[in-house]
Symmetry: C2
Subunit: 339 residues, 2 copies
DNA sequence: CTACATTTTGAAATCGTTTTCATAACAAAT
DNA sequence: ATTTGTTATGAAAACGATTTCAAAATGTAG
């Protein structure tokens, strides 16, 4: 492999001048610039990125931590993040944590070892206490995930209010025994949603009973399992709020197969407005997040923090969401006409 | 940030010895090993990865090129690839080409600039002629994509035969005017599928007319568009082969909305056996690829080539697939009972 | 023509590791 | 006591770029 030295020799100039051309800095005559470019082409020269990273202490790379790309919401998110990052000249490296604490910490090492200039956390399973020390090694921004503390910038929607709205909608459709299926164990986001959900119930003199709360429900399969559990143990259930469209789809699928009518026998709400929620029969009511805006702001903030190493103030950006009402909750006036 | 020098000083030893401990090489007494580990912990030392990469000429990183992670097939693929890679101690960096030639070439630069030790191409839009030169910079393996030339290892299923089987199935179900919706423009894979599809038709005295061939059909939206096109311009169509479950889902969705019965009025076949194909009403007949096996072999081969830099022989691994028959093609005995 | 600023160039230091090579220490064998 | 072999350690070179600093060349104003 050709090095910068080889190029310099062939062009009859110094490494320094070649470096100037590579990074198109000023103070090189047009004539020499041409000579150097020719030499580079002739040798098929490409700068070694480990060397430049080592010397310049910049990697132009951002790590994005997320649970898994097979979850369509995160697929969409990473898509937008990458797009925006490349607009700013940054590469993105995708880090799937699978909701494992140790993986999250492993990936944060990328910041310490200087493999990345900054980190976007769209996955947050560790206690903040354990994450905080990494801030010494470089900027971290929370995307979608959030919490109460303020020592880091966060970009997200109001999950509590969103869940509140969803629950209210179910109540307005006549549901009286509403189940709650949630994904992550104890992330702040989950707690927020649950709080919002319970608030709505309480305001209508209802509450979430232990038996109607199901945890660790993440994908289509879990959704099916959840329905079967409810069918056997809580047959009077008439509505369900789920943490994702995939879970909602699983519920709808299993319920339909068992002869339950949706929404008459069971109204279903999903989350994230994935294509899937539209395609299901019946189409699923869901909450849409402004993914592109969130991604855009996240990158903007992080890049800013990378460049102005000095303390940029940490902020919180809360974006609006939308409850999209579809057939899966369209109970008209009648509800529960006997199964 | 603490460097190896700092650790050495604190422990009262040399850089070399510290390096030996870091890379757990032999010839360090237990006593000093302990002393060094303590020093590292005290300083919160982590080796700078640019420096080690530069010196050791290894990155322990693999680039995976694929069209987009939002396509569930590739989501699944990257999931498995990353899993396997980490078993071998390799990181994966995900590179979305969006089927753009220039992006594919840009990402291949990672190999030249020594940012990665090897590349997995699950996206191949450029001519092989333009890719080949990169082989000088490091190993490349084709995963899912393939071609006739033999200078690189390929892992895939027999797409020609798979498409043949799918077409044959449609024919056996009584379809006589079968449409063909394909994604990528001119990848070898597309050509193979089309050949297989046409072979089956020809063997039954049919052929693919220009009007029934639709290209550039990639996602759910395209599937809907395709159906509307067919409805207007080719109303006699009674079956359709699509390049992905997403497209198939789009067709089913649009068709159902327009009052067509599936499969009686239109039989539909997808590809990849994504969850979506099972969830649709009716469930969609599709072809399942052994993604995990493919991923596993791909990593195994690539890591081997990275380690034995000398010429490892290039090979071709062809895995079995399975045609999964579901409602979307279950025409029983009757077909086309008048619309 | 001198003085001063600006443009152009290169030698050498530097980034933080790993690797090479030389040497010291120690044990076992003659 | 000397040789031989193995284990243990460190000084210095190397990886391939960018950055610093000094100096040369050129331009410009007085």
């Amino acid at each position: 492999m050709a090095t910068i030295e080889d190029v310099a020799k062939l062009a009859g100039l110094s490494r320094t001048t070649v470096s100037r051309v590579i990074n198109n800095q000023p103070y090189v005559t047009e004539e020499k610039k041409i000579k150097i470019n020719e030499a580079m082409k002739e040798l098929g020269y490409v700068p070694n990125s480990s060397a430049r990273r080592l010397r310049s202490q910049r990697t132009e790379t951002i790590a994005v931590l997320l649970p898994r790309v097979t979850n369509p919401f995160f697929g969409q998110l990473i898509e937008s993040l990458e797009q925006k990052a490349s607009d700013y000249g940054y590469q993105v490296i995708v880090c799937q944590t699978h909701d494992k604490k140790y993986k999250e910490l492993d990936y944060l090492q990328l910041l310490k070892t200087k493999q990345v200039d900054g980190v976007i956390m769209a996955s947050l399973t560790n206690e903040w206490m354990d994450i905080e020390p990494f801030l010494d090694s470089g900027p971290i921004v929370l995307c979608n995930e959030y919490m109460e503390k303020q020592d880091v910038t966060m970009i997200h929607i109001d999950h509590k209010q969103a869940a509140y709205d969803a629950a209210l909608h179910l109540i307005e459709q006549g549901c009286r025994r509403i189940a709650y299926a949630s994904g992550g164990r104890e992330t702040y986001i989950s707690k927020q949603r649950k709080t919002g959900f319970c608030d709505a119930l309480r305001e209508h003199n209802m509450w979430l009973s232990k038996e109607l709360e199901i945890n660790e429900v993440l994908d289509v399969g879990d959704g099916q399992t959840t329905f079967h559990y409810l069918k056997v143990h809580q047959p009077e259930v008439d509505g369900i709020f789920t943490g994702s469209d995939e879970v909602a789809a699983g519920v709808v699928y299993a319920a339909s197969k068992e002869g339950w009518r949706i929404p008459e026998d069971l109204a279903v709400v999903g989350f994230d407005n994935q294509m899937l929620s539209l395609l299901m029969v019946p189409a699923i009511t869901t909450i849409e997040q402004p993914v592109e805006q969130i991604a855009s702001k996240t990158i903007q903030v992080l890049v800013d923090q990378i460049k102005n190493k000095l303390s940029t103030p940490t902020q919180r950006f809360v974006y609006p969401y939308e409850l999209i009402k579809r057939k899966s909750t369209d109970c008209n006036t009648v509800k529960k006409t006997a199964r």
